[in-house]
Homo-oligomer: 256 residues x 2
């Protein structure tokens, strides 16, 4: 039975998509069957894997709002064991459209549960908000990975994120656990990065992955080539660290 | 009559709050009366000016949802001519609560219009989404400043942002214009930054400000001290560039 992992943090630009794409890619290269779900209207995970979001007839929007079956919509990627449920611009209207639908928080869960047995991992990339799309991601997930950028503003929102997770766990998804926390864009030359990393480790303790993602230009260049970083520059530090992260996730039996 | 400027881009982490806080601070130091409106549930602009978001009885939430008058809620900051309309965690629920309110897109405009004569500039920091909070910001604004991070993913969402602006202009706010585009986190050592900057200049032409904000650690350290960068480190490149931006905005008569 596959494990559904949501990648979420309402703070913008902290490395959610970069983590989702590169983690999914490494798990697939290591032989796991993986589905990457792009649950963000920006559709960055879609283009990060080389798919043109503008030509898509079918996307996660049709799954959530028009109830189309997931297996009719997911697509192949350049990596053998990796499929993607792409996003499109149409998803931008979903936050408002979802408000009027009954069980609006459970829609993604209902679509993904039947697919769980076809994959080892389903990774959900969430948008930078705590709105209905992210709530759907948290409700569908067995586990949550929180990317935290090593910057001051990124620390500020953690309280809100944790209380939202607890609310979802109480009311919608009792199985939801914080699988782990991944520190991103760490720059060892600045005190700020070191201080933030220390704070995060004090608070989350053993949930913080040993792998710490440094600031690495290869990670930000790879999406412009529509490739995960290990296909763009396998020897880069960015590729190595996400490989370490994938190994940590596998060795914990998928759990911390 | 004051000019209302929204700072918006649905891509996360591109420097919206950093631009809003530091531009507002410089305009105030240059003698203009400025109101900074924190329209983001993360309340980063609020803490970036040293205000504790967790103790606030009154915030923008009470203005939008409970119709409290703006002048009862804005607060002083450490800068003489700068007031802030702070945000709080309660705003996170507003996106869903606003859906059911008539004229839900005009609420912020109705609250700010009476305040326009008390200020030279009202600067609105928007959240990383194109939901109802950002739509309220665009509807209330006379002009829009778009921060664009010099990264690939940041380019991708511009089409969606422009079409949303056009929609708001057509249906809700005919006066809305793109005042300018500010390039942020520019790192001249990487080809990626140079390529993105070139693309943006090709597309937006004279709307791109001459001031280009480099990646500068002082900008990310300042918020942890609750200060805009010119009070934290006046001689830093980050402080200088935002001063240049403020001068460009003033010299254009507030317009490009
Ligand atoms: N470790 C890193 N080093 C350098 N650049 C990075 C790193 N991780 C991510 N980036 C770049 O930083 C930007 C933000 O990352 P990303 O888009 O993955 O964050 P996000 O949390 O998904 O953003 P959003 O909140 O908009 O969804 C992107 O341009 C990405 O390429
Ligand atoms: N020029 C810069 N150099 C270095 N760091 C910067 C710069 N501009 C912003 N930052 C830092 O990068 C992070 C993202 O910036 P900021 O929070 O202003 O973006 P935002 O667009 O407001 O994000 P969000 O989408 O979450 O609202 C912050 O930690 C900020 O301190
Ligand atoms: Mg993303
Ligand atoms: Mg912000």
């Amino acid at each position: 039975m596959g494990k559904i992992i949501a990648i979420a943090n309402q703070k913008g630009g902290v490395g959610k998509t970069t983590t989702a794409v590169n983690l999914a890619a490494w798990l697939a290269i290591m032989g796991k069957r993986v589905l990457l779900v792009d649950n963000d209207p920006q559709a960055n995970a879609t283009s990060g894997l080389g798919i043109n979001k503008n030509n898509l007839q079918l996307s996660i929007y049709e799954v959530l709002i028009e109830n189309k079956p997931v297996e009719k919509i997911w697509q192949r990627t350049s990596i053998e064991n990796l499929l993607i449920l792409p996003s499109s611009v149409r998803l931008a209207g979903a936050e408002v459209e979802l408000v009027g639908i009954t069980e609006r928080e459970m829609l993604l869960k209902k679509c993904l549960d039947p697919a769980k047995e076809k994959f080892h991992y389903i990774i959900i990339d969430c948008p930078p908000s705590l709105g209905l799309l992210t709530i759907n991601g948290l409700t569908a997930a067995d586990a949550l990975i929180i990317p935290i950028q090593c910057e001051y503003y990124a620390l500020e929102g953690l309280g809100q994120l944790i209380s939202t997770v607890q609310l979802v766990k109480k009311r919608l998804n009792p199985a939801l656990e914080i699988e782990g926390v991944i520190l991103t864009m760490f720059d060892g030359r600045t005190n700020l990065s070191i201080q933030v990393a220390d704070e995060v480790k004090k608070y989350f303790k053993s949930k913080v992955y040993k792998a710490i993602v440094p600031r690495n230009v290869r990670l930000s260049e790879a999406p412009s080539h529509g490739k995960p970083v290990m296909l763009y520059d396998k020897r880069s530090r960015g590729a190595e660290v996400y490989q370490e992260l994938a190994k940590e996730i596998l060795s914990a039996g998928g759990g911390k």
